[in-house]
Amino acid sequence: MEKQTIDLKETIRPNRLAGLWQLMGGFRAIYLTAIAAVALATLARTSIYYLIRYFVDDALQSDRLLQILPWLALSFIGLATGQGLFTYLSGRWAAFTAEGLAKRLRDYLYDHLQRLTFTYHDQTQTGELIQRVTSDVDAIRLFFAEQAIGIGQIVLMFLINFIGIWLLSPYLAWMSVIVIPFVLIISLFFFKRIGTAYERFQEQEAVVSNRFQENVSGVRVVKAFARQDFEMGRFEGANHKLYRRGIYFAFMHGTFWPITDIILGGQMVFGFYIGAMMAIRGEITIGTYLAYAQMVQLIIWPIRNLGRLITQMSTASVSYSRVADIIRQDREPLNQGSTIPAGGIAGEVRFDGVHFAYEAPLKGDAVEQANTVGRLARFRDDHLLAAYGLPVLHDISFTVEPGQTVALLGSTGSGKTSLVHLLPRFYEFDRGRITIDGVDLREYPRAYLRQQIGIVMQEPFLFSRTIRDNITYGVGRKVSEEEVVAAARAAAIHDVILSFPDGYDTIVGERGVTLSGGQKQRVTLARTLLKNPQILILDDATSSVDTETEAQIREALQKQNRRRTTFIIAHRIQTVMTADLILVMDKGRIVQRGTHEGLLAQPGIYRRIYELQARIEDELQADLAASEVSSGRLPVRGD
């Protein structure tokens, strides 16, 4: 039924209509058949008028009228059935095409988006992407479901009935279409304006919605300042403007339809007049006149809808290019690479003179490129903006033995996260070499690497499903309840989960319970532990967890009898002091390395941090002592 085999990327064409045609791969035959069915339905309908002509001119005059009548009645029903059948089939096939294409596009885009590079996602806005994959896809669907077939229908109805009349009388045919070009122009003219009026109406609708949303979400401020009257006034302004735009929109329609009514009505009466005179003069039969009077309606009235369909079609073609811009992007090749060690990896990691800079902006998307800088400015990780195009890692070299723990310490933007993101090949580095177990990182397929490496990100992300689903999210196999609980216990979240009414079946997020930052971090930790990776990366994974719980987690991790290579990014000396190797980073370089004891013995950032933390403890004691003796108001700052 579906043609999943087509890679939509192959179908992208710079010309929008050509692109839409290519997009139809696998559906072209059926869509053309649908249009052919429209033609047959129209033909059947026009034949009915010919049959009426025969009925009036010949049958009614015949002596054998009573014998002919049942056959005539049957023929009417037969033609009507034919017309109905073909109308139905054309609608069904067009829907089959439109819905099938829409599903194929949706599935493709969904998969495509989750396979595009990290760089792509860093540089695009979620809202914008969602807009494209929903509204724009729907516009393309409508193009096939309604616009293309609708235009086909109007054109075919015009042609077939024009020929129908022309066969009866060429003169009458030409006399019936005099105003058609004018009406077409008027219709295009109006619908372009109606389109604009509608857009302006919708814009204002958005303004009203925003005002309302602002009011409701700011209800505390409104009430606290008793500003209800002021708010009503503000809303009234926006609301009334929407009302006026609605009226303008109605006015555009109110002008268009009567004007074309008069023009086309005049054309029709004119045609009737010519036809009537010809009939009176005996140039055509009365049956011919009757058939003409019906057919002429199918030529003239539908024409005014062409403008609407053509205007809408241009929207669809814009949507096409917006969707094509996404499809055009390159995917991350997940399975490229040949090394897949039989017994899994041991976990020896070596960085050798690695340099890294974030990639240039998206290719081929002119709009995107223009917006990139503005977009990056809004991007959450400010350091990425600073790093954009500039090297973020310089000459990184170090070696970790299997089972060792490496700690990365440094300020925000010093390159810690960028460094660990290179390991699962989230980004590609420029110079130097990274090896795991002595094999170049690039020889491992990404898919394999990501199975071996577990990463707990700085900002925990949970999916709006149950806690159990969230913990088992990345595990490709069936897991037992015990395993889930064990992972939750190790992440010190088990008891919290049990305190919810639905336990592990509690849904998190918007439609369920809201977890605190620390709780979220622990659920994502449990998720990664359950995956049981050989290399574990904890990127500031316990920053929102209190000190006590953090110690608990650390203990649980140490107790796990698995010797895994661990990378820890942290801010507290306590978290990193037991590591086998501590790397102190600054501005993309490793400025100090060694063990806790070794680093304390030398001057540098590490010792400074350690000393500052000790100093804070001293100051705390002094502050407490001072607090105890004083009373009443204290001086505020700089005491």
């Binding site: 599903k103 505390r220 002008t255 605190s516 600054d586």
Partner: protein, 607 residues
């Protein structure tokens, strides 16, 4: 961008007559418009039927008998009537359009204004998304029903009735056959439309799920990739698009089947006309023109039937929409001014919480037997874990809620004896995540006192410490903020709302400090602004920063809705209780930030 997926309720119940009557009344309020479109559309509809009749006369009285003059006369009439009908078309489009827009406008206005009066508890249990749907899609549906829906029904029924009348006039026996066909036609049409509508509802529901799935997989793409879940995700997504495909395809082919089915039914009518008409023709019971007219009437009947069926099928939904709007409009505010409440200019003086109990939901007490007396000018810091009741105390004080038991007295009077406006207008409040309205900086500060001059606004901004950063903005005080404007940090927003509060010159000042870290420079400015506000007025601060806490006259440590510890900083430190633990932890955290452990980071710089 938000992606609230609020499931729309199903409406399978019967149409509620009372609601329908109320909907109709919404339209009757603008009866000239309604009368206007009723008259226009009925005339348009009758004219449509009459045009066919004119064609019949043209055939019989003109063409049939070869009377050129009669033919000309009839066609002239035809032409003039078309021009007249065009005027009527303009009239009904305008009347119905304006009526629909007007009803929607009025409903939006009433809903908005009504919501301003509703109490906090209403907003607590009503999600924003729910209210948004009332304001947008529900009002849209009701507006459509009152105008275009009603119009379609009038047009359709007038058209069918007048056509039947003309048919009966031409040949009543044939007309009876067509009349017999009508119930079948209408039943089939309504059944179809209902099925189609049900499918479309599934489509809409699935569509919002698809949007949700997209949104989640895009925001969580980094997790998806690191957990290698692409295949499974695609599988789940394909299930969704599969449902979408099934229902939208079904809806589409049902629609495609609908017209032919009705057409076929009308074809039976045409066949009957031909057959019976043919026999009648022989005995002179019907003319050429009569046959023509019958065929036209019957084939055209399809359209009014379709339109009416569509309206009837969607009516259920529109009435359900109306019901939800009306139920919102009928909601009474829970806190209202008492009959003999008095207005006061100031609410200075002591504040007493006297044996106050409070809960949001029954059986889930938030405050229990809470007692507290605050002297005028005192600064109270509220500390404690989330859910301990800090915000509740503030909400009660502002009278966003009233105590379930006990009393709150302002300057010795139970505050339920005062009008709410007196209390609200004398309280200045700064929220944790300050809310700014779209508009410029100046307008946002002026929100505190609408009559304030520009100079006073700037003065307040200076006092609040906001002036410095405002003038560094591109357009200074004219800079647009909020939706579509510049992005301000939480700290800057707090400075603006401090300025707003200063401008309001309140008797009581309430501040909910931001929990998120604010850069040191801004933090210092906020402290300065707070000091300006707290100087000579009673203040409550939900405090997260040590400097604020230490500055308070009294610190209240809350736990489970009760006062756990109360006293000055020194007293509480000496107790070595909760406050002591809280303080030491906070001290370390703040110092770490202050000393900027890793170096290279200066205040106000986020890199």
């Amino acid at each position: 961008m938000t992606h609230h997926v609020f499931e729309e309720e199903e409406f399978e119940g019967r149409l509620n007559r009372r609601t329908m009557w109320r909907v109709a009344q919404e339209g009757f309020k603008f009866w000239p418009l309604m009368a206007g479109f009723l008259v226009s559309i009925s005339l348009v509809s009758v004219l449509d039927s009459y045009f066919t009749f004119l064609s019949k006369r043209l055939i019989d009285e003109g063409i049939g008998v070869g009377d050129v003059e009669a033919a000309g006369r009839i066609l002239l009439q035809y032409g003039l009537l078309i021009a007249f009908q065009a005027v009527l078309v303009f009239s009904f489009i305008m009347c119905a359009g304006v009526l629909g827009d007007r009803v929607k406008y009025e409903l939006r206005k009433r809903l908005f204004n009504h919501l301003q009066a509703l109490s906090f508890s209403y907003y607590d249990r009503t999600p924003l998304g729910w209210l948004m749907s009332r304001m947008t899609s529900d009002i849209q549906r009701v507006g459509e029903l009152v105008s275009w829906g009603f119009l379609d029904i009038v047009w359709g029924s007038t058209n069918i009735l007048s056509a039947l009348a003309f048919m009966a006039f031409i040949n009543w026996k044939l007309a009876l056959i067509i009349l017999a066909l009508m119930p079948v036609l209408i039943t089939v049409a309504i059944t179809f439309q209902k099925r189609i509508l049900t499918e479309y509802r599934t489509v809409r529901r699935t569509n919002s799920k698809i949007t949700g799935a997209y949104s989640e997989s895009i925001t969580g793409v980094r997790v998806v990739k690191s957990l290698r879940r692409e295949e499974k995700n695609l599988g789940e997504f394909q299930d969704l698009t599969g449902v979408m495909y099934e229902s939208s395809f079904r809806a589409a082919w049902l629609s495609a089947l609908f017209l032919p089915t009705v057409q076929l039914l009308t074809a039976i009518g045409v066949a009957a006309t031909v057959w019976v008409g043919g026999i009648q023709f022989q005995v002179g019971g019907i003319s050429y023109g009569g046959i023509y007219a019958f065929v036209s009437y019957v084939t055209f009947m399809l359209w009014p039937v379709q339109e009416m069926a569509r309206v009837f099928a969607s009516m259920q939904q529109a009435v359900a929409s109306a019901e939800r709007i009306f139920s919102t409009l009928d909601t009474d505010p829970e806190i209202v001014d008492r009959p003999h409440a008095v207005a006061v200019d100031h609410i200075r003086g002591d504040i007493e919480f006297d044996h106050v109990d409070f809960y949001y939901e029954e059986n889930k007490p938030v405050l229990r037997d809470f007692n507290l007396t605050v002297r005028e000018g005192e600064t109270i810091a509220l500390v404690g874990p989330t859910g301990a009741g800090k915000s509740t105390i503030v909400n009660l004080l502002c009278r966003f809620y009233e105590p379930r038991r006990g009393q709150i007295r302002l300057n010795g009077t139970d505050y339920t004896g005062l009008i709410m406006h007196s209390i609200h207008s004398r309280i200045g409040m700064v929220l944790q995540t300050p809310h700014l309205f779209s508009g410029n900086v100046l307008e946002n500060i002026r929100y505190g006192r609408l009559g304030a001059t520009d100079e006073e606004v700037v003065e307040a901004a200076k006092l609040a410490g906001a002036h410095e950063f405002i003038i560094t903005l591109e357009d200074g005080y004219e800079t647009e903020v909020g939706e579509g404007g510049v992005m301000l940090s939480v700290g800057q927003k707090q400075l603006l709302s401090l300025a707003r509060a200063i401008l309001a010159q309140p008797d009581i000042f309430i501040m909910d400090e931001a929990t998120s870290s604010v850069d040191t420079l801004t933090e210092a400015l906020i402290q300065k602004g707070m000091e300006a506000l707290m100087a000579d007025r009673t203040s409550f601060v939900i405090a997260h920063r040590l400097s604020t806490i230490k500055r308070a006259d009294r610190i209240i440590v809350l736990k489970d809705g009760q006062i756990d510890e109360i006293g000055t900083h020194a007293e509480l430190i000496r107790r070595r209780g909760h406050y002591y633990n809280l303080y030491t932890r906070q001290f370390r955290d703040e110092k770490e930030v202050e000393y900027d452990l890793f170096g290279g980071r200066t205040a106000g710089q986020s890199i």
